[in-house]
């Protein structure tokens, strides 16, 4: 079940990024597969809806953001003044901004690492279960069917000052957990809830990836290597690399952007000294502080960060990924 659910996406991904490497494919083969259109215009027509969506929802806002990042906007929309790179220099000189950037880096790294690691661990264990494995897998995947805001809310309830079981659990060890008041405690809760929400997603992909590894290859490894731990690192994990790489990018993006809801619920209407990520800062400055120019500059910086990160991942990590 999980395989059919998740495999197409993973396959699609490797198909999108895989062929870059297959330079050794003879040109005739690719030519033979090329579809011939009667009209030169027709292929562009087919592409148009997709292009329109990308343009309206991605390029246009991006251009708008870049444009307004060079202006000081009037908070009430009466006019704007060109200020050059002032918005950028202001942002980059601000100690507060750099602190948030530092927290975002730590937050993203931890959330990505733990959601990947726990998802992988659960998938490996679920894959190894022989008796009642369907039930076990369904129970783990089930969580994914819960709507993300509901899941987020449930996570938050766990850390509620009055009824949260995790707060009581921490108190049991003498830890006075104060989410929304204490910087470290809030950061801790944010990371836990963000990781918790993402685990089922990673679990599904890792499980389908594991099931895609040929049984005979595992059996060959079983005869070649006694240690299960070593087998995992030398055979299973390398063969999972395409899935893991795909999830690395998805999870990084998730931690950078999609944790917005979690952060919002956790720090909204709370005391000021709480950890937030860059995305939340963009929202705060733009929509709470009405500093559209500064907010735009931050968006552009964020865009550049993601761009650089993705290029880095593809250049240095994907090189080690083996696509079948």
């Amino acid at each position: 079940m999980s395989a059919t659910l998740a495999a197409p996406a993973a396959v699609g991904f490797s198909r999108i990024f895989g062929p870059r490497k297959s330079v050794n494919k003879p040109p005739e083969e690719t030519d033979a597969k090329r579809v011939q259109f009667n009209s030169r215009l027709l292929p562009y027509l087919f592409l148009a809806p997709q292009m329109a969506i990308i343009f309206v929802f991605f390029y246009w806002p991006s251009v708008q953001a870049i444009h307004s990042s060079f202006y000081l906007e009037d908070p009430f929309g009466f006019g704007s003044t060109f200020v050059g790179l002032a918005n950028y220099t202001d942002v980059l000189k601000s100690g507060e901004y750099l602190g948030i950037a530092r927290f975002t880096a730590v937050f993203t790294a931890l959330v990505t690492f733990f959601s990947l690691a726990i998802g992988l661990l659960l998938a490996v264990k679920a894959d190894g279960v022989i008796r009642g494995n369907a039930t076990y897998k369904t129970l783990l995947i089930w969580v994914y069917a819960i709507a993300p805001p509901v899941a987020g809310l449930m996570g938050m309830m766990m850390f509620d000052q009055h009824i949260g079981p995790l707060v009581r659990f921490a108190a049991f060890f003498g830890w006075d957990l104060k989410v929304g008041l204490d910087y470290t405690d809030t950061a801790f809760a944010m990371i836990v809830v963000s990781v918790w929400k993402q685990i089922p997603y990673n679990f599904i992909f890792f499980l389908s990836g594991l099931q895609g590894i040929p049984v005979s290859v595992r059996e060959a490894a079983l005869m070649d290597c006694r240690s299960g731990f070593r087998r995992f690192w030398t055979v299973i994990l390398p063969l999972l690399a395409p899935t893991a790489f795909f999830l690395l990018i998805i999870n990084t993006t998730y931690a950078l952007f999609d944790t917005f809801g979690v952060i919002d619920v956790m720090v909204k209407d709370k005391a000021a000294n709480n950890p937030i990520t860059l995305v939340y800062k963009v929202y705060m400055d733009g929509f709470r502080g009405n500093d559209l120019g500064g907010s735009s500059a931050q968006s552009v910086i964020l865009m550049i960060i993601v761009f650089v990160l993705t290029i880095f991942q593809f250049r240095f990590i994907e090189r080690r990924v083996h696509y079948n």
Binding site: V217, E219, D224, C225, R226, L239, A241, H322
Partner: protein, 374 residues
């Protein structure tokens, strides 16, 4: 190198299905044993139990005097060649060969020497730096063999290793496997559903059916004295003709047609008679004969397979291409070449004659006369 003793081994799945039923095989050191049978006969399950990929429900498996029932697959001192090669796709050919040795802590110099030796033996030296996906099916199969060879195990296990290759390559690889095994002298257990592969490779073959051993024996012994109707129909191509017959005194009736056995036989009236296609020959005038109504002919070049009916029952004869084919043909067979099986149990009935060799001597006088005339 070691002997393998399989004693009363059974495989019972959780649903109660018995895939292998109390099988015992003693494999001598250096012997090439082929497990052959139709799909679902339990041959792969048996091999996988020896390999350690399936738990042994009952019985024991010993490799070189060591019971390995509860030993990890990696510690059984065996190497396996899989049907779909099962190469590690992310490793180069060199690393595929070296992986098992590295995990055993073999010194680097020795690994290099062994890989080089195996690569030379299998002529895959120029592919050592390639990944498996850049290899053809035959080359991958060689790498899979190389991975087994470098380990220098007590036994090789082959699980239908040639099934994914095309017919021509299969024949040449078959020869190579046989030569290689002879040269290395490693005890081998080979699973196949292809009776031709089984006949050509085996020192002894084990015919399995429904999880049970039908017969163990040298290929020619199995071919010439099949222990049951199942073995008779499974081993040999074209398959042995099996006709229902009735014996009355010295006479064997196939419906309206009669064959004189020349002497009394000590088995019941209703029997199944087995006739190898190549044992049939054209009857000369005056000789007793079965009349075959020819239906169609398969030309194989060296011989010609004539398919037809004898009293409503199918029969195939393998004849020389020089013999002219009529609509009906008179065929005969030396009585001692007939195989008799119990019609109910399918088991072979002992030859009614006093052994194959002396039986041929004491065959009816007219047959001897005609044979010398031919």
């Amino acid at each position: 190198m070691a002997a393998i003793n399989i004693t009363n081994v059974s495989k019972i799945y959780s649903g109660g299905v018995e895939a292998v039923k109390s099988v015992s095989i003693d494999i001598a050191d250096g012997e090439f044993i082929v497990l052959v049978g139709p799909s679902g006969c339990g041959k792969s399950t048996l091999l996988r139990m020896v390999a350690g990929l399936e738990a042994i429900s009952k019985g024991t498996v010993e490799i070189g005097d060591r019971v390995i029932n509860d030993v990890e697959p990696a510690e059984r001192d065996i190497a396996m060649v899989f049907q779909n090669y099962a190469l590690y796709p992310h490793m180069t050919v060199y690393n595929n060969l070296a992986y098992g040795l590295k995990n055993r802590g073999t010194p680097k110099a020795e690994i290099e020497a062994r890989v080089a030796e195996a690569a030379r033996m299998l002529e895959i030296e120029q592919y050592l730096t390639r990944k498996p996906r850049a290899l053809s099916g035959g080359q991958r199969q060689r790498v899979a063999m190389g991975r087994a060879i470098v380990r220098k195990p007590a036994a090789f296990l082959f699980d239908e290793p040639l099934s994914n290759l095309d017919a021509k390559l299969r024949v040449s690889m078959r020869g190579e496997i046989k030569q290689l095994q002879k040269r290395l002298g490693t005890t081998s257990l080979y699973v196949t559903h292809d009776q031709l592969e089984a006949m050509t490779l085996a020192d002894r073959l084990v015919v399995l059916n429904g999880g049970q051993i039908e017969q163990i024996g040298r290929p020619l012994d199995v071919y010439h004295t099949p222990a049951s109707i199942f073995v008779a129909s499974f081993i040999g191509s074209p398959a042995m003709n099996l006709l229902r017959g009735t014996r009355e005194g010295n006479l064997l009736h196939f419906g309206s047609q009669v064959l004189d056995l020349g002497r009394a036989a000590a088995f019941p009236g209703q029997i199944t008679v087995g006739i190898r296609a190549e044992d049939l020959r054209i009857a000369t005038s005056g000789e007793q004969a079965l009349t075959l109504k020819v239906e169609y002919i398969e030309e194989l070049g060296a011989q010609r397979l004539v398919h037809g009916m004898i009293d409503g029952k199918k029969l195939t004869a393998s004849l020389s291409p020089e013999i002219e084919i009529d609509e009906t043909m008179a065929l005969t067979i030396a009585p001692e070449r007939l195989h008799f099986f119990d019609a109910d149990t399918g088991k072979r009935l002992d030859q009614p004659f006093a052994g194959a060799e002396s039986g041929r001597m004491s065959a009816p006088a007219n047959v001897i006369k005609l044979e010398t005339a031919l």
